[in-house]
Symmetry: C2
Subunit: 685 residues, 2 copies
């Protein structure tokens, strides 16, 4: 076929030219080059040169993955003239694929185009195996596509009487011959389906191979559909991203409330449920697995993906979620010394997690770091990659516990700090979850002390024309701004006391029993920030700061170069207000950023790139784990951090941007909540 095409080409465009016996082929952008015999398919040439070109069908013009562009013109650098007709004419298979829009205009399949003369071949990014996956954030690490599961179409020798080799061994032979794969293990379920797949496909099958070492799944005929699911199991919500493992693209995403909430709002009440109801962990395991199954089904339905094409699942979660989804009793994590069953990564059948996808689907859980620092934090590390950073990074994932990582490419430390649920709007009188109607931004007039605000679901401020919508409460980011603005407006002192003297300035400050409150919204519902509310936020932010500061002590530093706030909360707060409150240490505000659901992103990175799994496993092993509960300096930092923004720490970067009130006369000392909160540490895992 190559020969006849050569003859045709020679007869047409190339008549009269001297045809080199071994034309030069140059691939861009790699710059790799070599001379090849006439008629060599470009895909073969690329492979011999180690040029990265994708293929599932192994050069049979079926998959359309190996597209290239022939560069035309004179390339002085290479000393050649490259022409379209130097790679032969378009084959029938290419015409066919082009008619199905499987080959882009102006492109050829490198398995069909053959070397007939000197050429410069451009390999587009989307034809590379290790293509880069697009991420929105400029500072985020690049994801190189290199999934652990790969598809390989092969034609298997049919069994015959002279060759009693088993189906498995003949398939292995084909995979070795056509794809250079080494010895593959195969589990029982693959063997059980092997004969049916081979005969249904007339001995042409597509093998899914995992990590180059396991024959994971066999589909009859050519099959080019391979997906993976990344799941972040939060205490409150579970988020799933369905990814196309051929492109890296997120084809559908969905989230759901963690159904375990009916057994307890926070983690510790769920552990208590198990302690009070022996065997209750079975129920908690079941509901969280069911929820993941539903998310898988929902995303697959949305993206019109067959559930059976999801061959890989990656999960992250805090230690208790991690243990519960695995069906491991989490109660040991409910008491000191909080021992994990394992701090290693886990690789198992998705069916062992009760997931009904393909019965050959595997699942991978990132490693937990310590009893309070989970696989979710490992996901955050993978996503934000402080271990690759030259700058000293502080990465904070705020939830009921804050998981805090500090370090750079040389050294990495991690701890968790018991912030409690105040940042999520819980335990705040007017607090609520982030939902339509919740105040998320807030400004207080310095003279009238009146508040104006924005609510979720409405794009304009409350004092602007077009403001609509019913105010329902204040969500986490709104609380932060409310307390910070109250401080900036002088309503609360540096010690966090609502200053009764301000009642003279505005009726919005008013006495309630022995303390004062601030009326945020006078309507239905009436929203008030009480002294207790301020204390809750002080406790939470002091815990967060103290954890970060403890790591800074361990590392012997006083400042950090960059701060990343991970998690939904981190995405919604205004980092300046976080700094006004003293949640985080001082830092150039331009270098404080939100990373969104970084834990989920870490799961997605591990899903798309198998090397990232080895990387995070290695990084987690060398992370220095710091246990705040046994570090005396933690309590000292905690007490000092109760002040706004801090009793002793300086905020030069902040004060360049915003004028902080001058300290007033010392008000009442912080209440005993600080100690209560610290003592409650072990309950608030």
């Amino acid at each position: 076929m190559a020969g006849s095409r050569l003859a045709a080409a020679a007869g047409a465009g190339m008549a009269g030219e001297r045809v080199a016996d071994n034309p030069l082929v140059v691939f861009t952008p790699s710059g790799r080059r070599g001379r090849f015999p006439l008629g060599t398919p470009l895909l073969t040439a690329a492979r011999q040169l180690g040029v990265d070109i994708d293929s599932v069908c192994g050069g049979r013009a079926i998959c359309g993955r190996c597209q290239i562009v022939v560069s035309e013109g004179e390339f002085a650098k290479h000393g050649i003239v490259s022409r379209l007709d130097h790679v032969g004419s378009t084959s029938a298979a290419e015409v066919q694929l082009a008619s199905q829009r499987a080959v882009a205009p102006g492109r050829r399949l490198s398995c069909q185009a053959t070397v007939l003369g000197d050429v410069v071949i451009d390999v587009p990014a989307d034809s590379q195996v290790h293509k880069q996956v697009v991420r929105k954030r400029a500072e985020a690490r690049a994801i190189e596509l290199d999934p652990i599961v790969t598809l390989h179409y092969v034609e298997v020798d049919q069994p015959d009487m002279h060759d009693p080799t088993g189906h498995l061994q003949r398939l292995q032979r084909a995979l070795t011959k056509e794809w250079g794969l080494g010895a593959l293990s195969a589990d029982l379920q693959v063997l059980q389906g092997l004969h049916a797949a081979l005969t249904a496909g007339a001995y042409k099958v597509t093998a899914a191979v995992r990590d180059g070492s396991r024959l994971l799944h066999v589909e009859p005929g050519f099959h080019d559909s391979l997906f993976g699911l990344a799941v972040d199991i939060g205490s409150t919500t579970i988020a799933a991203h369905l990814c196309n493992l051929a492109t890296g693209e997120v084809v559908a995403a969905a989230g759901a409330m963690n159904p375990q909430i009916r057994f307890g709002e926070d983690l510790m009440s769920r552990v208590s449920y198990v302690m009070m109801n022996p065997g209750g962990e079975v129920e908690l395991t079941r509901v969280v697995r069911d929820a993941i199954q539903h998310l898988a089904e929902e995303t697959a339905r949305e993206a019109k993906v067959d559930l059976r094409d999801i061959l890989e699942v990656v999960l992250v979660g805090n230690p208790i979620m991690h243990h519960l989804v695995l069906g491991i009793d989490p109660t040991p994590l409910g008491g000191a010394p909080f021992p994990l069953a394992t701090d290693g990564a886990i690789d198992l059948w998705a069916s062992e997690l009760g997931l009904a996808l393909n019965r050959d689907t595997r699942a991978y859980l990132l490693p937990c770091i310590a009893g309070h620092v989970g696989a979710d934090c490992a996901g955050v590390v993978l996503s934000e990659s402080p271990h690759r950073s030259d700058e000293l990074m502080l990465v904070v994932d705020v939830g009921t516990n804050a998981e805090i990582v500090l370090g750079d490419k040389r050294r990495l430390l991690a701890c968790s700090s018991p912030t409690g649920p105040a940042f999520e709007g819980a335990q705040i009188s007017c607090g609520q979850r982030a939902a339509p109607g919740a105040i998320e931004r807030l400004r207080i007039d310095r003279a009238t002390l009146d508040a104006r605000y924005k609510i979720i679901g409405c794009d304009v401020w409350s004092d602007e024309p077009g403001f609509t919508g019913q105010v329902t409460g204040v969500c986490g980011s709104g609380i932060i701004e409310a307390i910070a603005e109250m401080y900036l407006a002088g309503i609360i002192t540096q010690d966090g006391v609502i200053d009764g003297a301000m009642a003279a300035q505005s009726p919005r400050v008013f006495a309630e029993g022995r303390t004062f409150s601030y009326l945020l919204h006078d309507g239905e519902p009436r929203l008030v920030i009480s002294q207790t509310d301020v204390r809750q936020i002080q406790l939470a932010k002091a815990a967060l700061y103290a954890g970060a500061r403890l790591l800074m002590d361990q590392l012997g530093v006083d400042t950090v170069d960059r701060i990343v706030l991970a998690g939904a909360f981190g995405s919604h707060i205004d980092v300046m207000y976080a700094m006004v409150l003293g949640m985080i240490p001082d830092c150039d505000l331009a270098k404080v950023s939100a990373a969104g659901n970084a834990a989920g992103t870490g799961a997605r990175i591990a899903l798309l790139n198998k090397q990232a799994r080895r990387e995070i496993e290695e990084v987690v092993r060398r992370i220095e784990k710091v246990e705040t509960a046994i570090e005396p300096r933690f309590q000292e930092h905690f007490v000092n951090a109760m002040a706004i923004p801090h009793k002793t720490a300086a905020y030069p970067n902040l004060t360049r941007r915003v004028a902080l009130p001058a300290p007033k006369a010392a008000a009442a000392a912080p209440d005993s909540g600080a100690r209560r909160r610290r003592d409650a540490r072990h309950r608030e895992t």
Copy 2:
């Protein structure tokens, strides 16, 4: 402690002697020797010298496995005087174990006895890890105990706040430190039980490790009970042997009819059942798995073994049984080219086979050799080990198909031959299974043509005083002798025709239609050998011979050095009569032996010795598989082998022992059954 014992010893028996600083320790029978500091435990000394001494508790005087005997006297060869008190006095732990009869009189524990002076230490066979397992047959290969699962008692560091290492990692650390084990993988179920085991055992646990690479199971505290089950799944019967993996001993054995028999007596009718009833393989799989489970329970009950202590199962079976127990559709094996799902060994969870033992129990299936030559034959090879033989061995496992292996340490060939069920007493008018009342031995008076016989269940011959018991039929070995004796008595000709002329000599030969029959037993029931019965045996024995002969052709040999008859049938027949009939080629009768259930023995070897698994996997790969159905010479050999003992082959060894009748005038040609039988080949898989 070693120091105080040293002082005591010095004060008592060793007073006045010069105590060498580094006494000489000689271990027998290995002869290894070395000098050790005073107070070194003998177990430590042995390990440093690479002397093979068993231990589960790691030197804590719990398991009692490391017993040694101190040799007393002057050893000129070593230049030392060895004395009992050169190893210190008996420890309290030894006294305790001795009172429980866990230490034999005159023995010491090598973990308690310490080097205080020159000594010669004898390590008894039962204290060695790699002890030899006793086999009854003199010519059988030795089994060296080296099970794939080993027990290791360890004391694990308790978790603490300063060390957030997971339970798994702390256990791994202890196993590495105390036992030198490398990185172990652990599956989900181990993780799920880890915390409970560690806390129940106060962080002292016994780990079962598989193949040095997998943490298989964890028991609280010291646990020294480890068993394995070897299972031979025959078409007719299933046999199970429960073995103590610490001693190699068979602690219980049981057999059961294969319950699949209700779906069809022979293999092919079971495959037909599946073909006619799609999904029927699920039922066949279920009943065979249930039967194995019952055998496990029966043997465990008999030996008073906890089912959960059975951590390893090894199975063999013919290809159809192999596929069915695995839940792999066997129908492809019902038609040419009989493709196996795999010809490799299989390692999986016993729970994947539906076995409810310990949930951590693993199972191993020996490899199948070809579509008609199963894992049972691999077991026979492992047991009889032609691949280790200098002599050329012919190994025949007789069943519905005969599986035949020929070769020596240089080269090995295998085939199967369609003998049909005649050797098992089926399709013979007076035939029956081997059971009480069945004739198993038979002699015919050359003058009267009267038969005398022995039946199963009675030790004397029918013409001897004390003969009791009801004759019910003739079993396989009885049929062989009956036909051979009829030939030797001249009742049947070399061509297998019952000679009507003999009717004149005795009324026992009589006409039935156009052919003659022989009256074996004139009673209730009346037992007759008809011409058709003779033909059935001729067909079966010709198929067996032709298969063996075909392999001899391939190997280019005319004689074999040794013949082994495996299987129940082979154990009961008199090999001389087998040779008279021409079932097997000529051979020195002293070198023809029966191996009993060699397939089951092979399973037991693989259970007791992990190296044997690699060995048989490697041997099976290099066995040359011969398919009789496509070899034209098979038919030629088959036709020639219809004669008794053979049309052309010579039997010099036989004729030195027994006078064969002179050929009579040619009788009728063999009937068309030969072709029918051959054509039925593919039905009788």
